[in-house]
Subunit: 526 residues, 2 copies
Amino acid sequence: MSVQPVLINGVWKASAGTRTFQAVNPATLTALPEVYPVSPWSEIEEAVQAAARAAATVATWPGERFARFLERYAERIDARAAELVALAHQETALPVEPRLSKAELPRTTSQLRQAAAAARDGSWLRPTIDTKANIRAVFGPIGPVVVFGPNNFPFAFNGISGGDFAAAVAAGNPVIAKGHSCHPGTTRLFAVEAQLAAQETDMPAGFIQLIYRTDHADGEKLVSHPQIGAIGYTGARETGLVLKTAADKAGKPIYLELSSINPVFMLPGALAERGAALVDEFASSCLMGTGQFCTNPGLVVLVAGSETDAFVKAVQEKFSAAPVGTLLSEGVQKHLARGIETIRAAGAKLLTGGEPGGGKGASYRNTLLTVSGDQFVADAARLQTEAFGNCSLFVIARDASQLSSIASAMEGNLTGTIYSANDGRDDDLYRTVEPLLRRRVGRLLNDRMPTGVAVSPAMNHGGPFPATGHPGFTAVGIPASVQRFAALYCYDNVRAHRLPASLQDQNPTGKLWRLIDGTWSQAHIG
Amino acid sequence: MSVQPVLINGVWKASAGTRTFQAVNPATLTALPEVYPVSPWSEIEEAVQAAARAAATVATWPGERFARFLERYAERIDARAAELVALAHQETALPVEPRLSKAELPRTTSQLRQAAAAARDGSWLRPTIDTKANIRAVFGPIGPVVVFGPNNFPFAFNGISGGDFAAAVAAGNPVIAKGHSCHPGTTRLFAVEAQLAAQETDMPAGFIQLIYRTDHADGEKLVSHPQIGAIGYTGARETGLVLKTAADKAGKPIYLELSSINPVFMLPGALAERGAALVDEFASSCLMGTGQFCTNPGLVVLVAGSETDAFVKAVQEKFSAAPVGTLLSEGVQKHLARGIETIRAAGAKLLTGGEPGGGKGASYRNTLLTVSGDQFVADAARLQTEAFGNCSLFVIARDASQLSSIASAMEGNLTGTIYSANDGRDDDLYRTVEPLLRRRVGRLLNDRMPTGVAVSPAMNHGGPFPATGHPGFTAVGIPASVQRFAALYCYDNVRAHRLPASLQDQNPTGKLWRLIDGTWSQAHIG
């Protein structure tokens, strides 16, 4: 049995681990042939030390160096796109087209290129200069970053190619990627290309590293290691909270993206005005990718009435008739079943679905549940259990006035959406609901499903706990996402020639935006 | 016995607590007459609910409203400056002049006014607009903030008047202040003026509230309360870490300023060039305020040699001859004694001091300790024990090359300082030491003691754990300190008239800096 090597300190080497695992094709439920190691602590420690050395080496490098690496890596990904897509399809059962080849892969290389641009233009540095006091501050790398990628985006959130990776590198930090056990082959292929790009662009050994799996206890040791600067984690809430406890105790910033049910409020006027269109819009958004998006609309709030009855009935028919997609793994299927069980135990009634199967391999029937507004408010915690997958819960408010109690009972979410009539008849209600929803979500949408997450500088893919660990940061959108992996470095009375280029009187590129005595400027000083 | 009331929900009311405490004049070690309550949980819960209501009321208020409150409050403080100074002197034994009246009080009102300016000009909002995707994001209030002030700055870091208070209010957040038990009278007087200013400027009841003391368990409940947005804590490491654990578990951002020994590297050329001046500079900085500054130089690294011998001897003489100041409390005295004990147990030798007494009331002799570089590296954790007060430890490196190992053994600190020769002879050594020290401190200084903390937009009064809980934030400096109490709110496809003013096409003031499609601008859109 040949075990895949790990990437440590610039070398693909045999793991010292004795335990192994294999990925499973979720569409056939058969194990894939490649065998991957569980890394023992000695190996992880070696990676951390290599990352620390790499961090010291690159500490004062200009952003241009990281930009060149990121861009070369993106080119290499493009060149192996077909293989990556085929492998990811095998490991995740996500559709080749449009999902993997036309959406996620281009998005991934675009993120890497946007991160390269941020590294080059320094938009995340936010140099702040007080010329009178001669105090100058700038953001800089926080130290080696550990990235845990999730199961649901084998490219765009992968530990060695996704948004956290790109952001951490743009800020000049080495990355130790922890691959997700569902798609180790895809992850390995990315790492091969990343390492070649790193060599071609003269990055130090240990700047990017890959391990596939660790013991739980070693994961906690890793995130609390004195040499680690910060952690990015996207995935299940339970594991994320365990890592958060370990990282918090060691004083390590950990950026989490845990779970979110993304409430959608359909105000009565919107339903009356364009109910049929909303049926299609909601059903496609909720079933797309078999519902396995962080921003899947898992909760829809409606006001009791005949239009709501019609909407519910039409969605129910759509869900029953729609083909059932394959889930990412049997684990996801079980997790979904457990979530639905909890929601039903809390009093929600099944409208359709509620059984495993119906699709190829790991699958669960398209599921809709319904509960009254009264029940929701009475047991809001359980009824907000995330049922990650092709499932949603309708909450039927007694009347419009109950929407406020429902909105107030919401936990922190990544997104919140309000559909309202175009003719203004919902506007009073909007003004009541919006402030309550607003502070419980990172991104507020109007008249659009939350599943699309544009990589925009103004995006917030974040939100209050338990959606994430801190409501001031976003995992998507550059340069804001880069900021997570930065520390603030102040220079007080430091001699001019010793300042980093970004803080010298001369603007290093003539284009770097700096806050000089309260004014944002690209000018030189003096 | 008349017990001082607490300020809850806009009213000064008798506490429901049955336990009480009194402050002690540290110069006479006699209890002061006023009696203050320990608030029971019911009272704290009442404060939290009032704060949550206040937060909802002011959620969409323009910054101008908070600015008016802060400015009116600053005026009221100015009007009662003499009383505040007298009371604080009685409670802390800090000198009336220049410390309390000429330095700390003006600094406090200046901070409030700078925070008012930030609330008004929106410099902390950082509106980011992607016109093409119509996604717009802006920072906004994070929710009610609990502020725990420390013992050592009765004005400038007071929970109801200091930097955290000013920053939290500037971002539009209600504040629940937890007074420090060493100076409840000063805190009460501030709160009286704050509440009057709040009434005069039509702030809602519960916008600012004051409790004096809680049980430890209730403190943990408070910082993890679902209605609390964030916490600011400045004080002892042990208590801070207990609160951090509770807040972290609940997913509440907690900004800590815990402890810092502020290493100062005196490179050989600097000593040779201006040793005598450095003796004075160091001794004044270290003994000022009886050493009770977060940025007190508690560790000085020197290279063995005759100039170092002369420096050590001269400082030792200064410390022996200098009057011994009064400490803030007997608690501080005991804490200092314990710290010195630990440092001595780890092998440091006493040069002078090392005994309680020598001054009026709570006091401890000016203390100097010394240890070799070898010993320091071997037991770096214990030898970095904070001995908060009029004490410092000299670390004598074997030779210049050992400075690197010493710098590498440093924990996270607020500041790090390097003195070097003006003629350039230390420059090679500087280039070796600086990168190692740089990433372990928030503020790097040249040729200046770290005790002065200017309220500059470029200041970083922060640093890596365990100095603080996150290296990306500063407690001093506006608008950066305001950012700590802000959450990111994104608007995706939200109809134009529903956007907050800061995100509409029209620049609301014509002066607000916004990042529009990658360019910082004060212009309107379109």
